[in-house]
Amino acid sequence: MSSKYSVIGHRVHNVDGTEKVTGAARYTFDVVLPNMLYGKVLRSSHPHAKILKIDTSKAEKLIGVKAVVTGKDTPGHKQGIWRRFPELCDEEILCRKKVRYIGDPVAAVAAVDEDTAEEALDLIEVEYEPLPAVFDPLEAIKEDAPQIHDGVELNINVTRHIEWGDVDEAFKKCDHIREDQFKCPSQAHVCMETHDAVADFGYNGKLTVWTSSQSSYYIQRLFADMLDMSESDIRVMNRHTGGGFGSKFELDSAQFPAAILSMKLHRPVKIVLTREEEFIATKRRTPMYYYLKLGAKKDGTLLAKEARAITEGGAYTAMGATALYLTGFFSSFPYKYPNYRYDGYRVYTNTAPTSAMRGFGAPQSTFVGESQLDMMAEDLGIDPIEIRRKNGMTPDYVVPGQAFIQSCGLHQCLDKIEDHIKERGKLPPNHGIGIAAYGFMSGGIFNWFNTPYAFSAALVRINVDGKVDLYTGACDIGQGSNTTLSMICAEELGVRLEDVRIFSGDTGICPPDLGAWGSRETLMNGNAVKRAAADAKRQLLEFAAAKMGPNIVYDLDIKDRFVHLVDRPERGISYFDVVKEAIRGKDGNAIIGRGYYTPHRKGMISPAYSFGVQAAEVAVDTETGKYKLVNVTTAHESGTVINPVGIEGQLEGAIMMAGGYGFCEDQPMDEGKILNPSIADYKLIRSLDMPETEILEIDTYEPEGPFGAKEAGEGLTNPTAGAIGNAIYKAVGVRINDLPITPEKVLRALKEKQKKKK
């Protein structure tokens, strides 16, 4: 792949790469401080209970234990990431009066080592009064269901409504209407590095926290809320982070107890959640009951869609309200519905809270929508590609009252996938290829945290040797934002990638950024970085212009470390010389550029959207129902590709996660207890199970994004489950409407189909 740019679009080593392949990268997991203690958390074994008494005396007496804390050792606030809506701030973390799910924290211990801390947990005596519990949202929404939060009727935590046009009238005009129901399960993030934190509260009243996080900014603010501290007295540092996927931008039960313990002891306290705690108590994908009604004309034109989702909220709001909204919004993607209505209900249940996970409600809506669309296509006798072509979004489409789509390469993606399917030719028996189309946002415009707007900020400092320090609050959680942002900085400034050093995710020195979620870093933080680099460049060029004294009509620019006349690129001076003199001219002060990005008047959801179409090929064993994922080919567009190696990695990785959602991942529960909280029991796709993957890039340019770029990390977690479901239908003629699609479900469906034939 060649690139018209100097830095972006080229295949480069990740800027953190050498550290990671030599084992030198330090994660919070590796942090060890002098005088440090180890903490463990005691959790509720009841799904719903009053806490009558907690006796920590025996635990405190155990040799090696330095402190035991409970809810009464905290200021007693409730936190929630929907900070502007106090009624949705419902989680104490260390529970004081009541526990609401199995795993809800009630106490924490700091000791000289992990084993002692764990032993101490067994010595804490908690007296519970179990309360009736409810686990299914369809049950929890009934009149007689136990009330989980005071004052919340029918356990309805949040509702959302999205509407345009008049669906009821439109259905009357349809030639064909389908109504279908689906069930989407939960999913665990399974970050390789579990949630962890080292909290260090000093006698100077300042708190320093090393933690594995997607947003040091949110964690800092939430700490301030929960500890009655001032933001600036809290420094949150995101080290190399072993994965996030949506699980690490809320205050969690490693961070908060560690801080409380450290505040009590004035010593650093480290808490690392075990893998079991990770499964039961770190939030998960929102399970949803989905009801869809779709109406079309007989030529395949979609006229109306009505969607209703009842979601399992779990014990607290967390980010579930956002997932509820986004699933309804993306239920309208990627097609032009003249009439649309969505109603979503998030219902509290006595299960682990459900929150954000890569895709944020869109994997669910894409699975159900793309399954139903294929069914509609079959009813009408129309090819699945054709029906999507007929209704697919196009550039500059406006989603009424919701969003402005600028760049959109959906149709080119459909063409590419159509070609791919043709190339595969005639398939062997019981093989099938199914497709699914998606669209996804590049960062959320909405901000329920503290200001009305989402924002990103960055700072660029040019040092005397010409090397550049880039400061940004953006967090690299493995998605490669450190590299992508460094590339944008280098390109804009006109230097090489190796000239840039990035400091990210440290609230003590970096300008704020909302963090790595909703696929926002490349577009939102990328814009901030580009503007900061442009600001620094402008200052440098002002000086260079004065020094070079060119005719007023000539512009200057910098490319590959050379400051030159734009119209006579061979005439110029070395960037390094300009820098030295500019800094000398400023009494030795480095040149500092600032930039920020806040989308205004860009609709309700996002300034830009990426699109794609995925084709999954399966081979089904009709005697057992087992199927193999043979190949997953994706045509996608994400504007200008900044970091090609990074994008490929994100896309293939998304297939593993999204494929898992359709193929094997599940969290079965019994009375609120997750039955498979271990890597052995929670089925994950491994190397022998991974299908062949192929990526087909479509070239587009997004005016909103830096150099025309938009998201690529999250959209691709949307289509795979739907593509698998459609593929199985194509292969053996059975449709499964609840995920994951297990061999047992396929076999049962095949047998029923056989019975019906007879």
């Binding site: 080593h13 990740n14 953190d16 790469g17 050498t18 550290e19 990671k20 392949v21 030599t22 084992g23 030198a24 990268a25 330090r26 994660y27 997991f29 590796d30 993030h189 399974v190 970050c191 390789m192 590095e193 579990t194 190399h240 982070t241 072993g242 994965g243 996927f245 075990t274 893998r275 079991e276 959680i477 493995g478 998605q479 490669g480 190696v645 990074g646 490929e648 990695g649 994100q650 293939e652 990785g653 998304a654 297939i655 593993m656 996660m657 271990s678 890597i679 052995a680 994950l684 491994r686 190397s687 022998l688 991974m690 062949e692 993957t693």
Partner: protein
């Protein structure tokens, strides 16, 4: 009651005193400060703790440290020779065969062990070689491409 444990790690001899229940991974990370080897699970399923013991890939979280008495251990810190990266490390860099990096040490050691046993594995054998290692970020295929590139001889080691 602690017992003496003598082992060689990355060519260096070490002598430590450990409780019988100490796991090999704890010796490497906590006693010797070699934190490149990670832990990601409690049931020997994720492979993040993979190191080489007497030439074999093993999960260091699933071996009592004292069973490694007298053993020759290689961790990710022992892959590079001085400042020269191992061909696998170079290939991982070129192919972006890592993202968050937490599984990477284990993947490198499993791959190195595979290639020491069999310098010309098939694609299927490469997949088998890392099947004991979970990666949540890459989807494995970039890792397989990186190992394949080494197998093809694209990174001839300087003798």
């Amino acid at each position: 009651m602690k017992q003496e444990l003598k082992l060689t790690v990355n060519g260096q001899p070490y002598e430590v005193y450990v409780k019988p229940k100490t796991l090999l991974v704890q010796v490497l990370r906590d006693h010797l400060g070699l934190t490149g080897t990670k832990r990601g699970c409690s049931d020997s399923s994720c492979g993040a703790c993979t190191v080489m013991l007497n030439g074999m890939a093993v999960k260091s979280c699933s071996i009592l440290a004292l069973q490694a008495d007298g053993a020759d251990i290689v961790t990710v810190e022992g892959l590079a020779r001085g400042t020269e990266l191992h061909p696998l490390q170079k290939a991982f860099l070129d192919h972006g065969a890592y993202q968050c990096g937490f599984c990477t040490s284990g993947m490198l050691m499993a791959s190195r062990s595979l290639l020491e046993e069999n310098p010309k594995p098939t694609k299927e054998q490469i997949k088998e070689g890392i099947d004991g290692n979970i990666c949540r970020c890459t989807g494995y295929n970039s890792i397989i491409r990186a190992v394949t590139a080494v197998v093809k001889g694209e990174y001839k080691e300087e003798k």
